[in-house]
Amino acid sequence: MTIPLSHYLAVSAALFSIGLFGALTRRSAIIVLIGIEIMMNAANLNLIAFWRYSDGTRATGQLFTFFGITIAAAEVAVGLAIVISVYRLFQSTNVNEISDMKK
């Protein structure tokens, strides 16, 4: 007996919703970034699960996940650079206090 595909999809859907909740409600910009990373992880899990349950002779599913991880790494590098730069300007990383483009 094996695990059905829908269980993997359900875990991934739950992970996506948790990440969405974190990105929408938390005040710290770093936690917003962590929420976005969790959502990207859920998408990657979906891709790998569908690859495993396909006929899987080609590597397309795995390579899409690979490029997804690459893009997530680039995104978090630029995002954290922006957070540090904004902290230098506003002395805060709370997204509510950062409402002006210039100080």
Partner: protein, 167 residues
């Protein structure tokens, strides 16, 4: 195998909830790295060994370290005000997230032919993965390397301290 899947899933969901709800940002970051490690474990269960190793290398090795450094550099260990706005906004977040979850679970449940899919007994070697990456996926590979270079330069430029013009 089955017990391992459910155990890892429970660890994954619980640590994800902790990562977005704890007050101390250091603990949030550590819980996020538990999320990344346990999803790498799910990749190993799905026989995607290379992607699992890449996940551990990039997410746990680079992203979690970067997040920890950002938390420590911004001296914002315990956020003074926890959530955006008042309690009402918090319940808006819960509402939106559960609405999205409801739609996703509903669409998974409506696909009855998902149960007919079974795992084929295939093993994709790293050699064939690399061959595929450098033949059919050559253009995305090069674009990804260009993107990483641009992100690296952009990160350095944005985080660089501006020189004071006084002297």
């Amino acid at each position: 195998m089955i017990a391992a899947f459910y155990l890892i899933s429970v660890v994954l969901i619980v640590s994800a909830v902790l990562a977005v709800s704890l007050r101390n940002l250091i603990y949030c970051t550590l819980c996020a790295s538990v999320v990344f490690i346990s999803s790498a474990a799910l990749f190993f269960l799905l026989k995607a060994d290379f992607i699992g190793v890449v996940q551990i290398l990039i997410y746990v090795g680079a992203v979690a370290t970067l997040l920890l450094f950002a938390v420590m550099l911004t001296k914002n260990l315990v956020s003074r005000q926890y959530y955006v706005g008042q309690k009402r906004k918090w319940s808006y977040g819960i509402f939106t997230a559960s609405a999205v979850l409801w739609v996703l679970i509903g669409s998974i449940r409506s696909q009855t032919n998902l149960a007919e899919l079974v795992t084929a007994d295939h093993q994709l070697s790293v050699v064939s993965l690399g061959k595929e990456m450098l033949t059919a996926f050559l253009l995305p590979f090069e674009v990804a390397s260009l993107l990483l270079t641009a992100a690296m330069i952009g990160g350095i430029v944005i985080a660089l301290e501006e020189k004071k013009k006084s002297s």
